[in-house]
Symmetry: C2
Subunit: 199 residues, 2 copies
């Protein structure tokens, strides 16, 4: 039976962006189905009593270096945006809406790139329309869907689910009850899914 | 010219313990000289305005799982101690005192194991004497040295140096100005020291 990895992320989280760029390879390496689960990191922080890592000035300075090192390690573009943190409520709702059309991975990756490579507001109408159209969806319709109660509820429910399962930050990977927190835990996640190599 | 990696750690930090178990291999893989730099994590947190990661309950729960995964990944023993966090002031002074005899790695590893594998108070006289004697030093003399002003000043100076260089947590690896924070950054540290593989 194919295993499932739930990948919870927020477009405003730089380590979520880095992790998202590795999702195709993660699926390939593990043979698992990776399910893209947009959530709202602000809601997770609030519920878990956590705070942005960049709250500590020395840590924020280090993170800039660290993020660049990971981007280089992965060979992906990364440009720290002109404004941070962004309000991602509408961006995350767009990802939820894209899920209903089977295009959540494409739309999410496009919004990640819009913000973390090009510095555009990921909740802006222009970015959401462009992400939708790049994924073969109707840009105006996807943007309009971000005001639908069912979409808003879907985002809230995903955030609550992640918190109930133990999330306190992003990205959060779940395999059943097991949480792997952070882009830097992808290797341990892969290891946990590798077939045991007994004698 | 041989490169130098400064390895700042506190015996009370579980990720410092995990990293410490990898130091011999780190030296081997990079060809660098790894210098064991005992510091006081409580002092670093205070100076940097940081806090224990286990302050967030969901994160503390996850950390227990994460630490066990790393221990399994490395193939090293790990048993969460009956009391946490420990007061490590005297343990860290013992490490500083051991530096003067060229035995800081041996004494530090012994104190890490006393606490993270056997649950003993790493600042207790018994643990410090045993660590010293296992490293071929006079146990009573090393314990007495933890009250010497020069040793206290040495620990304070190392802590201040780490903060001045940008540390905000443990373990902290420095290669010149470059900080690699965390056991989970050892791979990026190794990568940064690898010879460029140009065409």
């Amino acid at each position: 039976m194919q295993r499932t990895i739930d990948f919870f992320y927020d477009i405003g989280s730089p380590y979520s962006y880095l992790a998202a760029t590795q999702v195709p390879r993660l699926a390939e390496r593990t043979g698992a189905a990776v399910v893209w689960r947009p959530f709202l990191l602000g809601g997770v922080f609030k519920a878990a009593g956590n705070d942005m890592p960049a709250r500590v000035p020395a840590k924020a300075r280090w993170m800039l270096e660290d993020l660049s090192r990971w981007a280089k390690h992965y060979g992906v573009p990364f440009v720290f945006p002109p404004f941070f943190p962004p309000n991602t409520v509408r961006a995350m709702r767009a990802c939820v809406a894209a899920s209903r059309h089977g295009r959540v991975a494409e739309v999410s990756l496009a919004l990640f790139r819009a913000y973390w490579c090009e510095g555009h507001d990921p909740s802006g109408e222009a970015a959401i329309r462009a992400a939708a159209e790049g994924a073969g969806l109707d840009g105006g319709a996807l943007f309009a869907a971000t005001d639908e109660p069912a979409v808003k509820d879907g985002l809230r429910a995903a955030t609550e689910e992640a918190v109930a399962r133990g999330a306190f930050g992003a990205p959060s990977f779940f395999v059943g009850d097991a949480l792997f927190w952070g882009n830097d835990r992808i290797e341990l996640l892969v290891e946990s899914l590798a077939p045991a190599t007994g004698a």
